[in-house]
Amino acid sequence: MEISKPSDNSMVLVENLNVTFGKNQIVHDVSFNVKQGEIIGMFGISGAGKTTIIRVLTCQIEKKNWSGNVVVTGLNPSKKKNHSKILSNIGYVPQLELLNLYFELNPMANVEVFTSTYGMDKKKAKETAEKLFKILDIPEDTWKKKVSQMSGGEKKRLSMAIGLIHNPKVLFLDEPTTGVDASKRYDILSYLKKLNQHLNTTMFIITHDLEAALICDKTAILRQGKLLEFDTPQNLISSLPSGGLVARISIENLDQKGIKTVQQFNSVKNVLRVGNETIEVLMENFENNLPKLMKYLFENEVKINSMSRDIANFRRLFQIRIQEEETKENEVDISEINSEGGIIS
């Protein structure tokens, strides 16, 4: 994986980061570089190490637990004397609003609490808050209401505004779309993009929600503490066989046997089950091999209901990369059993 060299506009630089708690290594040799104004999406299933990496970057983990070169806004979090400056330069939006907001206070009072911690002037803080509230469409009539009386979406947006209130260089967002209903998820993402465009703030999103990749300039895929990918979503998708072209095939009474039959076709690289009776197939030399695959399935008495071609999205890329890693691990496990004289069926 190619990591761009640190430059003047580098906001976050991580080189060979390893995090260990006791005997458990949580993060393995992770490296990446983030430039100013970029939106980075850090994706991975639970236990991937996303939160741990963010905790290192936000000075929450003691140096004795990690090694490697880490620079956040030009400062090294391994030195305690830098913590205060780093924390002034970064913003944080936690997953749950109750961790970021005083529900019994109104939004403006919440702003006052947090801006006082940065030593901001009250007047300037109010002006910044109003600007952010307007960008985030937080209705003016709620500014003096208790946060507890605001809707879920308003609380989420207020939490984002609080994270940005001191105009940080980097904003860390933990699962910004979790707990938001499907229709509002895209709203939240578009607000983040809007904020990024208005303020040129570097954003670091850690999430399970693969749709967040839509607004990301770069995406990182993590699994079990290892960074599998770090690049633009487009580059990652185009690195798939045939540039990410997929055949979406609906098969009658789809079962494991049917999937195995598809997998056995020579040029097929990946088969993803994406529905009850639907699979997506990635293969080399897509245009030439697709008709051959259809013929092969017909000959093997696989009943095809429909077939369409498409370009893989980030969700598929994520599935493929995770699946590949799992397969690799299984192969290692099997070879280990083999070398120990185990029986393989």
């Binding site: 000075c59 929450q60 944080y92 961790l99 005083y102 609490v113 947090f114 911690t117 933990d174």
Partner: protein
């Protein structure tokens, strides 16, 4: 047998000091100071012509000034004096013609209720320490955004100091209200009102420090609440109000004297009923306990793990 010897012979009395008032002009003042400082429980004054009166067949006159700051102890003190007279009469084969004039030192003026004054002192002690604890017991454990605040340049010590400053300010207002209310409802304070306020403040601050200590120590609200009830119960039971501390086993006495109520209650009683100064052993013990708890709470809060 001299009357002083009879006093010494009594099991109920323990002679602390004998003054010859005709030679020592400040005898009564010194004795009253002893009474104020709880060194003695009763002053027995024998007239100059005590022996002559007895020889001439007149009844012996004994003035007795009892510490009346504790309503339950007045009769007990007088009974002890009667016991010494009984010994004196028996030993000298006298006809029991004695008149004991009982005076109550620190008694309150007419129009005020002694019982109200006595009970109010206890209520004030419980109320002040209880309110201090209740108001702070959840301030750290319940405040979810604290972990997030720690991701700003603000220091942990600043957060906790802010809590102390805020709740101390509230405590000052509460104590002022309590003093004003108590006076408005007929509390008679022999001592200075400022001393009473300071005593209530230091006791309340100790309660506040206990509350914050529990709040920094507890991991959940339930744990904090349970610790509060357990601590408050121990504070009350070992305060010496219900069970005299001297009657407790030695290990309990050590614990009792380290707890704030066993100092707070006598401190307030001393000011309200005897006009004692606030600055004494009890005040400085409470101050010491508070400072200790404040330091401990800062250490715990500093070391506590917060993650968002």
């Amino acid at each position: 047998m001299k009357y002083v010897e009879a006093v010494n012979s009594s099991n109920l009395l323990n002679l602390i000091q004998f003054f010859n008032a005709s030679e020592e002009i400040y005898a009564m003042e010194t004795a009253r100071n002893y009474l104020t400082s709880k060194k003695i429980k009763v002053i027995i004054a024998i007239p100059v012509d005590f022996s002559e009166l007895l020889i001439w067949g007149y009844p012996g006159l004994i003035d007795c000034i009892s510490d009346s700051s504790d309503i339950k102890k007045i009769q007990e003190n007088l009974n002890a004096v009667y016991d010494s007279i009984k010994i004196f009469v028996n030993q000298n084969n006298l006809t029991p013609q004695f008149e004991v004039i009982g005076n109550e030192e620190f008694s309150i003026p007419e129009g005020y209720s002694f019982k109200y004054n006595y009970n109010m002192v206890l209520v004030l002690s419980f109320m002040v320490i209880g309110v201090g604890m209740v108001s702070t017991i959840l301030i750290i454990v319940q405040e979810k955004p604290i972990a997030r605040l720690l991701l700003t340049p603000v220091k942990r010590a600043e957060i906790l100091s802010a809590k102390y400053i805020t709740y101390t300010s509230i405590l000052i207002i509460q104590d002022l209200s309590l003093v004003i209310s108590a006076l408005a409802f007929g509390l008679y304070v022999v001592g200075s009102l400022f001393d009473l306020f300071l005593a209530l403040f230091i006791l309340g601050f100790t309660g506040l420090a206990i509350g914050i200590f529990i709040s920094t120590f507890s991991k959940t609200k339930t744990q904090a609440n349970q610790l509060f009830f357990a601590t408050f119960l121990v504070l009350i039971l070992l305060s010496g109000i219900f069970i005299p501390i001297d009657a407790m086993p030695i290990y309990l006495q050590i614990i009792a004297y380290a707890l704030p109520l066993s100092h707070g209650s006598p401190l307030i009683t001393g000011i309200v009923t005897k006009g004692k100064s606030v600055f004494g052993f009890d005040f400085f013990t409470l101050l010491g306990v508070s400072v200790f708890l404040v330091i401990i709470s800062f250490i715990i809060f500093q070391r506590r793990k917060y993650e968002v």
